[in-house]
Symmetry: C3
């Protein structure tokens, strides 16, 4: 049987569905075995007015995708396990209310609350003036524009192959006259009944000139995965703390504090290694080892990994970030010097891919831990005790 | 009989009513004696697109509350008396169109047209760089963010007690990761058939760190209350002009000019005194003393009062501001030095309260005038002829 | 028979029609001979969410007017000829998403994709700090605010006179407390079945103080009118290149390159001359002379004309601008020095008028070319080879 395509939004053809529920009643041919659904609806009120939401439910795993915020994944639920974190920003914020330039270029934080938030496409990292790229893009704001760029195209595919796959595709464009022109096509897919989902992105230079690109996935996890004594693990060749503050905690990078008043964020930059399939596993597991949040990314496509530790009190945002990227979240000029920017010729593109799985028992957590341990034993696992010029 | 609660907006539960009319038909049990109504509807077109309006009518007094603009009160009507002023900005402006940072931090003015507009919560007063607070909040813009923050929660209470009370409650939050987290819960209440309404606010530090707060009520009145020869009166201990321009008019602070081309604004800072109930009356009355706009505020909660005189021509905005606050609208660094900022520990809150009454006959105007005169006679009523370092 | 008036939007009376189709079915009395229509509908999704569109069809000519973007004309179609250009910004952008201040004041470009886009009203031209005007308006951003100001009033007139006229009127206001107060009333009219349309604008100082104004019509045309070998012609007294870059191409100003990688924009400033009716024709015609895009403007009302050449590759925006204005798009301080700003007293106004016609055969193109040649022979036609201080 062929996949069914449903177009939710296409600005170019003035197509738009405000509200729709796809499920086994509307699409019985897709699957009758699972309580699956795709529920698109608008949010209203407060800073969420005008924000679109797509709730994908594969029968066990629920994800809230926000087309209005660059196809970010606001939060989710696997069985009874909440996925995401408790940001001081409680609901999805309409990008029309976010002034990226304010607060010295840190205005991005006023909309930041997602489980998965992309940083890019033309730039990411801290704000500042970088005269090295397109002159129209020299005033850089924190983490770029893509998380605040509404999708101009959104479609759903219901593919009955292999028990059933739901795929949500969105497209966003960054660009204007005299600027770089980058388009992101993003697909999130999940198999019915599974504990995981995959994101496959493609960034294309749709302009007429060479363009630089940066991209990082700010994957943010709080309780219950994050807790005092939670563990982080990744196999790597080399790691360095981002700055002196991170260096303070370099020997304890694998463990987490509980919510800690006055905690200042720490970030660690990894050069990951992959298994034979080319995948790097990065695991956050609970203190007792009975639950785990696993990110597996295609290392050749996402060669840089950042660990962000921000174990502030719950009310301030208790969270850690597992962040694969095509580069590190340094200021763009630094990344250019290090040769880590993607430079795309007109028509050229690059792809990324990663999978997130929720582990809800100690066997599956142990299996991944052992795999990481084994890969680590085969890796140099060099830990720099202080910031290293090749990294930051 | 118990009060009836109607939830209009709650972003956290994805509750939202776009359009609803509450009146004696929909709620006959509340009151049949009054032509009361609560009419919620969206505004459309121009800069008002996407703005929510709640028109409250207690049978005599009508008020237009704007949840999208921080529960500000756009304007109103008491019998045939219009409440408010004629700003060059004619209709409620969607905060998405207001860039607070532009025009050297004066972008707030592009949405300013309310009868009651809050200034705060993290800061108010003139724009500038104040490194003394949270680093994310050092780039201060005029009068802060609260007037451009949409309410994420709005509810109505119809309380049959004492002939019937209508209460409208809204909640707004200022905050983000690494920033201060302040929540305002605001309730406006009015008794059926009465000539007055009361606003009761509570500001809570919902974050995990100590946070500073400023708050002022920019209560703005134009014709017919304001006219050539209109009078202002308040009982006070001490008063000082804000600046040399205000000092020019210090002896005439109690009277108003008519619309005056080229008039430059004047502001006076009062340390008010209260009656035995703890209330300070501040009265704007017409030349003939037949109408009056009365603000009575709980002096212990709102210890600072600012009088703003801006008798420009009608087309430019002929208006005066009666402005109780927890502090004065100086630059935040000045207010910090003077110890007038509220410093809230996590979970801590403060409350404010004031009542506005429309006086439509000379007896009621006279009664308040006499009361103010009496309170004034018991007060030092010190008038500084020039700006005083304790005030500005 | 009298004209029929249909009110689409009036914020002051809270009138708004979300979606409506006027045609020979709804208004048979207007005309049965033409497939005319006026179709108002909202756009949805991506950066167009919340943008209103009015598609006017006179039976042959279709125009997409965007009330949300200052009554700009996004694009159009005459028979099979597309009118407009292919901007990197593909769809109309909600002004709520446009931050004019960002990118060093060039944020305007992030919404720029129209066939006709006004620049003004308080300022236009490049960004910068101009202390010479109202202090609230000293931080100038590229091309001012009017293209990103939603219309607060929109109406349609169906006038059966002379075979039938459709008129669309919009009103926008720029202004705020302490700022200048300018209102634009714009009417676009087209006769049923005709190949042309006329725009008549009126800018009024609705404030109480003297106000400066600038205004230019950024009329932007791409393929098929623009192509390698396309021709531009205008009768003029004097012309000067804007800058050294434009001076490089001054002898070739009348011809166009095809899409050219690395092309940097060129602008030429003309002092046009008019025919006996006071109209100046400005013509862009295709290489073969079989199609033409003609702008005829009332020279006394629009005494300045700018030619913008931007023959970048299609993907970057292959386009030329035929731009009549009350002044040239220099920095406002320069225009003030040159005495080209309109200075309006309270209540004072000025008007502009121009007509656009699509020529779809060599006879009509030839006729206009000959007319321009004849007018040119009667004119000095002075070409300055380098920038001239009277112009830029």
């Amino acid at each position: 049987m062929k996949p069914t395509q449903i177009l939710f939004t296409d600005v170019s053809s003035q197509t738009w569905i405000e509200k729709v529920l796809l499920n086994s009643e509307s699409h019985p041919e897709f699957s009758k075995q699972s309580e699956w659904s795709v529920d698109k609806r608008p949010l209203h009120g407060g800073p969420s007015e005008g924000v679109d939401l797509i709730e994908v439910n594969n029968g066990r795993l629920k994800l809230n995708i926000i087309p209005t915020r660059g196809m970010g994944v606001w939060n989710g639920m696997f069985d009874e396990l909440p996925l995401g974190w408790s940001s001081p920003v409680k609901a999805p914020v309409n990008p029309a209310l976010v002034n990226l330039s304010e607060r010295g270029g840190l205005g991005w934080l006023s909309g930041f609350n997602e489980l998965i938030c992309r940083c890019g496409l033309i730039s990411m990292g801290p704000p500042g003036t970088d005269a090295g790229g397109n002159p129209l893009e020299s005033e850089l704001t924190l983490h770029g524009r893509i998380a605040n760029t509404p999708a101009h195209y959104v479609s759903v595919e219901l593919d009955p192959a292999d028990g059933g796959w739901i795929r949500i595709t969105g497209r966003m464009t960054e660009g204007m006259l005299f600027g770089s022109q980058l388009q992101l096509e993003s697909t999130l897919e999940t198999q019915l009944g599974s504990e995981s989902f995959t994101i496959k992105d493609r960034v294309i230079n749709v302009g007429a000139s060479e363009a630089e690109s940066e991209l990082l996935y700010h994957i943010n996890v709080g309780a219950p995965f994050l807790e005092a004594g939670a563990q982080f693990a990744i196999p790597f060749e080399e790691m360095a703390p981002r700055d002196p503050r991170a260096a303070e905690g370099v020997t304890a990078y694998q463990t987490y504090l509980g919510p800690t008043p006055g905690y200042a964020e720490q970030a660690y930059y990894f050069k990951p290694v992959a298994d034979e399939q080319g995948l790097t596993p990065a695991l956050l597991s609970g203190r007792e080892g009975e639950i785990g949040f696993l990110v597996e990314f295609v290392q050749a496509k996402l060669p840089c990994f950042t660990l962000w530790k921000n174990t502030q009190p719950e009310a301030a945002g208790y969270v850690t970030g597992l962040e694969p990227g095509i580069n590190y979240p340094n200021f763009r000029a630094t990344e250019r010097e290090q040769g880590r920017l993607k430079v795309l010729q007109p028509g050229e593109s690059y792809e990324t891919e990663f999978k997130i799985s929720i582990l809800n028992n100690s066997d599956s957590v142990d299996a991944i831990r052992q795999k990481i341990t084994k890969l680590s034993q085969q890796s140099p696992s060099v830990v720099h005790e202080s910031p290293h010029p090749r990294f930051s």
